[in-house]
């Protein structure tokens, strides 16, 4: 075995620091990658040009192109056109709906980023769940998991697989083709879907009896139940006498009821009044809240609760203020900010009423909550104002408000450029990055999306995470640290058969992807496992493939972005992911190793 050198120790130290920072998250994971990119050349572990080679790597350029192609598909509203055929074929059957959408999302996510596909499907799934009365908790988890599994169907489906060929290049191993992983990915997807179809009732969250299930379904389908019902009240004629002015905001804070509309003399009506509107004497108010809160407000403030809506009866039909659920999207401009800081209510003249987060409903002091991706905000307001909010982007709406500037007429062009990219890869054997960038450029030139939209769609966090970690993988290999660790681990394990070694690698990659980013896990593990496989006389390509696939085996904790996004709208708790995710993870590993044995003859 090679003796341990100072450079090896330094690389291992850097790996230790990176893993530590990934776990504690003192800085964001992409910043950790940039730290590596800068520190490695300073320590002379890689040359300055090698440190930044990741930015021009095949993998990074491919990912940029995949993101742009995904944004192009989004702009054409292709997903909306997929929904009706699926619902038509599946009918009312819950299982067929799950299968239909799982296959569709897996197909889409095999050509674009998983999180992008998940965000595209979310509004459609919420609408389908509502119209077919299927609780979202039964739909979102299987379909979200299928979205992640879909990332294993092609070589561009997930970042670890895109990276794989680049990481294998220093070992002069034969690169994988675009569809080399497809049989394996299909097997993983099928086993995942079948688990939910046959065992869904045991692993998905739901009540015990049928009645409970219906209740749970109703509860989740009808957000109004959580925040109360609509009441009309009238203030007394001496309401403003002998007291300080009472504003709309005061009533909301004190009684947790939302003032939907007020009348102003002589005969006008204001919907979603601004928070500093003074409540006058002898006016009618339309409020939304829980019965006991509304009654308490009426008693303490001297108001009369009417038996039914009277003054706003006609407006209810024509102006129709609606309650919608809007989910904070990945990379939303609202992420990390509070509703108060955004000036949400005043800016859009709509009322945020509650926030769902990790299975909990927040009603009080929601203005001060820092929003996270996946938070579902219940918003009440007139359709026009909700449309204005939707056009700002950053939120995924349950209700179709028909405002998105979609370009359905470009769908054919988008599909054409997708096909061009594919045929360049498959027929002409042109490099992945060049083929995909051609497709992306084609979409821009044919105005499926503008160049600015293309730039805005690129997630720079992803780019720098990939680009920054590539030199770390390079340094691990170059200094001989990977070979040294591999030899040490193998000497500790003793002689192992290739299938056992691949199983251990699968377990290791799964464990790593649960605590650190899947890209980080891939970059750190691929050089290591290739060395281990070579030393143990196993196929190094298969060892790398196991890492590339198993880093998508991220179901047990809601740490994967897709799971985090679906957690709020599905009203899942962490325990729900542990229950279903553990089974899917075990099945994933068994199917992965079994598939490699079957398809590649290991």
């Amino acid at each position: 075995m090679q003796p341990l050198t100072t450079d090896m120790i330094l690389v291992m130290l850097m790996i230790g620091i990176a893993v530590f920072l990934f776990i504690v998250e003192w800085v964001r994971v992409d910043v950790v990658a940039i730290i590596m990119m800068v520190v490695l050349p300073l320590l002379h572990l890689v040359s300055p040009s090698e440190a930044f080679i990741g930015l021009s790597s095949n993998a990074v350029v491919s990912i940029i192109a995949v993101i742009i192609i995904g944004a192009g598909l989004d702009k054409t509203g292709l997903i909306n056109s997929l929904v009706s055929p699926i619902v038509k074929i599946a009918g009312q059957s819950e299982s067929r709906i799950i299968i239909g959408f799982s296959v569709a999302i897996a197909f889409i996510s095999s050509f674009m980023q998983n999180i992008g596909a998940a965000a595209l499907f979310l509004p459609a799934l919420q609408r389908v769940g509502k119209s077919l009365k299927i609780p979202l908790s039964k739909l979102l988890m299987p379909i979200g998991f299928s979205c992640i599994l879909g990332g294993t169907i092609t070589l561009v489906g997930s970042s670890p697989l895109i990276l794989l060929n680049d990481l294998m290049a220093p070992f002069k191993l034969k690169p994988f083709g675009m569809f080399d992983v497809t049989p394996l990915g299909m097997l993983l997807l099928a086993s995942g879907i079948l688990c939910f179809i046959f065992l869904g009732r045991f692993i998905l969250p739901q009540g015990g009896g049928k009645e409970d299930q219906e209740k749970a379904a109703d509860h989740k389908l009808d957000p109004i139940r959580e925040i109360g019902e609509i009441y009309e009240l009238r203030t007394s004629d001496d309401f403003t006498d002998y007291r300080d002015p009472i504003h709309i905001e005061d009533l909301k804070r004190r009684y947790l009821v939302n003032i939907v509309a007020v009348t102003t003399p002589p005969d006008s009506r204001i919907f979603s009044p601004v928070s500093d509107t003074v409540v006058r004497s002898g006016i009618d108010m339309l409020v939304c809240g829980r019965g006991k809160d509304v009654q308490r407000m009426a008693a303490e403030e001297g108001m009369r609760v009417k038996d039914q809506v009277e003054a706003f009866k006609n407006d209810m039909a024509s102006q129709a203020p609606v309650t919608v659920e809007a989910v904070v999207a990945p990379r939303s401009q609202f992420e990390g900010k509070t509703l108060d800081r955004i000036n949400f209510q005043e800016r859009f003249r709509i009322s945020p009423m509650a926030i769902y987060r990790q299975g909990e409903v927040y009603r009080a002091e929601i203005g001060n909550m820092i929003l996270r991706v996946g938070d579902a905000i219940l918003i009440h307001g007139p359709v026009k104002r909700l449309q204005a909010l939707q056009s700002e982007g950053g939120l995924l709406f349950t209700t179709a408000l028909d405002t998105e500037s979609l370009r359905p007429e470009k769908a054919i062009l988008a599909a054409f450029w997708g096909a061009v990219a594919l045929s360049m890869m498959m027929i002409f054997n042109i490099q992945l990055s060049v083929s995909l960038m051609t497709g992306a450029l084609g979409m821009i030139l044919t105005r499926v999306l503008t160049i600015d939209e293309a730039y805005q769609s690129v997630d720079w966090r992803t780019i720098f995470l990939l680009a920054g970690l590539i030199p770390l993988g390079m340094a691990t290999e170059k200094t001989g640290a990977a070979a040294w660790i591999a030899q040490t681990v193998l000497s500790m394990l003793g002689p192992v058969s290739p299938i056992v070694l691949l199983s251990i690698i699968g377990l290791l990659a799964t464990a790593f992807s649960l605590v650190i980013s899947n890209v980080g896990a891939t970059v750190l593990l691929v050089p290591l496992v290739i060395n281990m496989a070579i030393a143990a006389n196993a196929d190094p390509r298969m060892a790398a493939l196991v890492v590339g696939m198993a880093t998508s085996n991220s179901f047990i904790l809601p740490t994967h972005q897709v799971n985090a996004l679906y957690m709020g709208p599905g009203h899942y708790r962490s325990i729900d992911f542990m229950k279903a995710g553990t089974l899917i993870s075990v099945v994933f590993l068994v199917a992965l190793i079994g598939g490699i044995y079957l398809f590649y003859g290991i």
Binding site: R254, D293, E360, Y362, A364, E365, T462, V519, S554, T559
Partner: protein, 270 residues
């Protein structure tokens, strides 16, 4: 009317001023009573409470919440006593514990070190050197306590509405000034400021009750709408939920109560 907090160094005649202000305005005068109430209510030895609100936390205590637990009990007892208004409080850190209440008049009494040393020597019949050492140590301890727990320096005059240097201004002058300022309209309780005081007292009480049953929580209240946040999950969170539900009937003034878990799930970038 107002709540007056009097912050003072030892032997600065602050106690005398507080008692005279309370007599002049017909207010209650509080200091040690708060410790006795907290000790009684939460069954904590007085000595532990006294140490917690006087001595700065050690490094270990900063990690184990040792002192902050006792401070929670103390703050709960204090807010319970002063919520009814018309009170002069001359114990420790009143301006911090009651921060944010607009009808709070925060007064700081300071005096010349040599005068304080003289007072100490006369009262306790000790040498000048000993008296000076004790006073300086006490000042240092109090400064440390406020800085370590709240990040502010008690000698920073911007923390107070009124800072009075007892030298040319006599005790009687100081009493007159404080009584006059306390009558200003900005120190009179309004519906909103009283509500804020009630909310603070309610939040402190709930936090102390839950802490007494080993729940580590943070509590806020706005118009009686209480939000309890805990870094708990699973069974522990369920237990907290059950206990919180009982509190609705045990503690008056709760209009709505929500329990939330602060345990966050990390998300991977890709």
């Amino acid at each position: 009317m107002a709540i007056i907090t009097l912050s003072r160094g030892s032997y600065s005649k602050g106690k005398e001023i507080a008692e005279k202000v309370a007599a002049c305005m017909n207010y209650d005068c509080l200091s040690r009573e708060v410790i006795l109430e907290a000790s009684d209510r939460f069954n904590i030895p007085e000595i532990k409470l006294e140490k917690a609100i006087h001595d700065a936390p050690s490094i270990l205590e900063r990690f184990t919440h040792g002192k902050s637990d006792y401070i929670t009990y103390y703050q709960s007892a204090l807010t319970r006593r002063v919520r009814k208004d018309n009170v002069v409080y001359h114990g420790l850190a009143g301006h911090i514990f009651l921060g944010g209440i607009s009808h709070l008049l925060k007064v700081r009494i300071i005096s010349d070190l040599s005068m304080r040393v003289r007072n100490k020597m006369e009262t306790e019949n000790i040498s000048e050197q000993d008296a000076r050492a004790i006073i300086l140590k006490d000042d240092h301890e109090r400064r440390n306590w406020t800085q370590k727990l709240y990040g502010v320096d008690p000698w920073d005059s911007s923390l107070y509405d009124l800072v009075i240097f007892i030298d040319k201004i006599t005790v009687e002058d100081a009493v007159n000034i404080i009584c006059r300022v306390a009558g200003f309209k900005q120190f009179k309780a309004t519906r909103e400021s009283q509500q804020k005081m009630d909310d603070l007292a309610l939040a402190c009480e709930i936090k102390a009750l839950l802490l007494n049953e080993h729940f580590d929580v943070s509590v806020t209240s706005d118009y009686g709408n209480v939000v309890i946040s805990a870094k708990a999950t699973g069974r522990q969170l369920q237990k907290l939920n059950e206990r919180a539900t009982q509190l609705i009937s045990e503690v008056s003034g709760i209009n709505n109560l929500e329990v939330h878990s602060e345990a966050t799930q990390r998300q991977t970038v890709i």
